[in-house]
């Protein structure tokens, strides 16, 4: 028989360190004392991602959410709530306006996540069209086609919603559709950009895998609005599951008459084909993407003309990325006005971020625009693991920049991020802690853009390589002061004279670390020192003779055998052969291996 109550105690590291174990014991004791141990199950859970307020206790089925619970509070929760059915108000989570919240869904931390794009992900079977339909799927298409909505009505609805492109610069979606609709042409196309390529970003993949019909429906609506009868999904071949789910979904939608000729008995016909990309980052740039669909080498071409006017095979082509499209059925079925209530003045709706790096709860989060970085990192992501200090967060991937602790309370939207020298980008969010070297971070992103440059335009192709070489010299201690001037010159040339967004934004990571971490970068160049101890060319490991007891462990771990010393005698590292892998440092149990 099921229990009457379940008491969930957060067992994440954060909560454990704040005495969750003691609390657990006290709760058990209290249940025993009340004699209701058999009616209540006491459960340890994984992290709820609300570590700042830990330890957390959640009581089901009431879903009461107690925060900051101390072992001494255990008896009261049991006697009051479980036995008498009265919630312990003083422990319930309170928002700043001091309204008391009892249920999880009411707590704004959970409302800080707000699922529009991910509405069906993890809820429906993506390979079963019926489940999508049951969640009001294809309702928007139905409205558009049979509910008397004209293409202009749809554009008006999008305008009211304030939806902006989620892939990069945030161009208003209604305008894009409007441009395409306004052009007279015998053929038009709709393209879904599913060429997600930022390191650490995978929200588009998750949508395609979890809710492929939402993309199909949105593309059909776009086709109806702009006058296109053919759509392409350009998806990278590294996403086999997403492609499979999409194929299944297209097949089902076609069989159900939601794609194909005369959809729902109307004059509107629309088909979708999948085109696979070979995983070139630049193919996420819309003109390069179109070239790739046409079978050409994926290289950007200058805009204007914009693809909405002259795109695929020179025909008007609307290109939206996956996340943008996923919003559209909701906007059409619930109305632009409803959508516009979410988010900030200029940035409406939600944004999905892929939260990774030095973060406890890595994963996909969807938050209303305007949510602060602090909320995302600390309240949703659970903060930095292992008690390390937050150093910076990178948004916008290789096109973005780092944001420091000083700016954690910045509300996230297109404009604010740009002011900080970063961009929204597709939504990668990588958190760094004090062990990360910012020079190394910039070097990582630059290496990515250098490798992913299409090689077409000189500023990006050559400038990126030169910038990388300079950072590499800095990391090895061979850079000179003049290199800062070169970075400035190259950075300007790349920003101003590169052809596409990839090149124009490629210097951002470098420029932003120089701006926000001048001392750290300066230490590499002026003092030949890497403060975070990351840049191998600048660190040395040596053994403190005072602390070494001659256990030989470091010598045995050393992969290149450059640590010498007899048992019970002080060991010495031969600096000439050391590859700075840090094995000895990690191995020594006596703190005798020093890194400097």
């Amino acid at each position: 028989m099921a229990f009457h109550h379940y008491v969930l105690v957060c067992g994440g590291t954060g909560c454990v360190s704040s005495k969750a174990d003691d609390l657990f014991g006290e709760l058990a004791k209290a249940l025993d004392q009340e004699g209701i141990r058999d009616d209540v199950q006491l459960v340890k859970t994984g992290c709820f991602g609300f570590c700042e307020q830990g330890p957390i206790v959640k009581v089901l089925p009431e879903e009461s959410f107690y925060v900051g619970v101390k072992p001494a509070d255990a008896a009261e929760i049991v006697s009051e709530h479980i036995v008498k059915g009265r919630q312990v108000d003083r422990l319930l989570y309170k928002e700043e306006d001091s309204k008391v919240h009892a249920k999880v869904d009411d707590i704004s931390f959970y409302q800080k996540q707000f699922r529009i794009v991910l509405r069906n992900c993890g809820f429906i079977d993506p390979e079963n069209i019926d489940e999508y339909i049951a969640r009001d799927g294809y309702l928007a298409l139905e409205r558009a086609l049979t509910g008397g909505m004209t293409p202009d009505d749809i554009i008006e609805e999008l305008k009211e919603s304030g939806l902006r492109g989620r892939g990069g610069a945030g161009f208003p979606t209604w305008q894009k559709w409007g441009f395409s609709k306004a052009v007279e042409a015998d053929q038009k196309y709709v393209v879904c950009n599913a060429d997600e390529g930022d390191p650490g970003a995978y929200m588009d993949r998750s949508v395609l895998e979890g809710d492929p019909h939402s993309i199909i429906e949105a593309m059909a609506i776009a086709g109806y609005t702009c006058g296109a009868d053919t759509g392409f999904v350009y998806c990278r071949a590294e996403y086999p599951l997403a492609i499979h789910r999409l194929e299944v979904a297209i097949k089902q939608a076609t069989e159900a008459g939601l794609l194909g000729d005369n959809i729902l008995g109307t004059d509107f016909s629309f088909t979708i084909e999948i085109r696979l990309g070979a995983g070139a980052f630049v193919c996420g740039e819309e003109t390069a993407l179109l070239a790739s669909i046409e079978g050409k080498r994926g290289m950007p071409i200058p805009r204007p003309p914009f693809p909405a006017v002259k795109g695929l095979w020179e025909k008007p082509t609307v290109i939206n990325n996956v996340e943008t499209l996923a919003n559209i059925p909701v906007i059409i079925s619930r109305g632009g006005e409803w959508f516009a209530k979410v988010g900030t003045e200029k940035s409406r709706g939600t944004k999905v971020f892929a939260l990774t790096g030095k973060i406890k709860n890595s994963g996909l989060v969807e938050v209303p625009m305007g949510t602060t970085l602090r909320d995302i990192i600390y309240n949703i992501g659970g903060g930095i693991p292992d008690g390390r200090a937050f150093k910076a967060v990178q948004t916008g991937g290789p096109s973005g920049g780092v944001i420091t602790a000083d700016y954690l309370d910045t509300p996230i939207d297109y404009e604010h991020l740009q002011e900080l020298g970063s961009i929204m980008g597709s939504g990668g969010m990588i958190v760094m802690d004090e062990d990360d070297c910012m020079l190394d971070v910039a070097k990582f992103y630059l290496e990515f853009t250098v490798e992913e440059s299409c090689g077409k335009c000189a500023p990006c192709r050559v400038g990126g390589r030169k910038l990388y070489n300079i950072l590499d010299r800095m990391a090895k201690g061979t850079a000179e002061e003049e290199d800062f001037g070169r970075i400035e010159d190259i950075g300007q040339a790349m920003k101003r004279a590169s052809l596409c967004g990839l090149g124009q934004t490629a210097p951002n990571p470098v420029l932003s670390v120089i701006k926000y971490f001048p001392e750290e970068i300066g230490a590499h160049v002026k003092e030949g020192r890497c403060p975070a101890g990351v840049c191998k060319g600048l660190i040395q490991y040596y053994i403190d003779p005072e602390k070494c007891i001659g256990c030989t462990l470091c010598a045995r771990r050393c992969p290149v055998n450059v640590i010498a010393g007899e048992r019970k005698e002080v060991h010495v590292i031969d600096q000439n052969g050391c590859i700075k892998c840090g094995e000895c440092f990690d191995a020594c149990k006596f703190g005798a291996v020093i890194r400097r």
């Binding site: 099921a2 859970t45 707000f114 699922r115 339909i133 009001d136 939601l258 890595s362």
Partner: protein
Amino acid sequence: MAKMTLDELRKLRESKKKELDLRSPDNKSIHVVVGMGTSGIANGAKKTLQAFVDELSDQGLTNVSVRQVGGMGLDFAEPTVEVAVPEMPTVIYGNVDEEVARKIVRKHILGKQLINEHIYDRPAADIVEGTE
């Protein structure tokens, strides 16, 4: 599926809505929902799914439906599994390997007890519920 008319689409939506609603804890059947996005599968979700199927059949349980969905967003705790048993709170388990999957069948579904250390939480309230 044959091509649908508008009426058929509407009827299907209504009838399926009810079916999906049946997944709420109040109904009588039991649902196991495995997150099968790339991150889930990369962390062994396929084995987890198989373990559920095997264990359910070993235990002779026929009133349990095992389904797959896309990723739930809790990538740090993959594979993730949602379990809905009547008269028990619906919970999401994380880090569900084959052994945990078998434990869930035996302890949660048969024993009506939640499993320690593996409960995580739904990342967000689902906001798109009906459009009216």
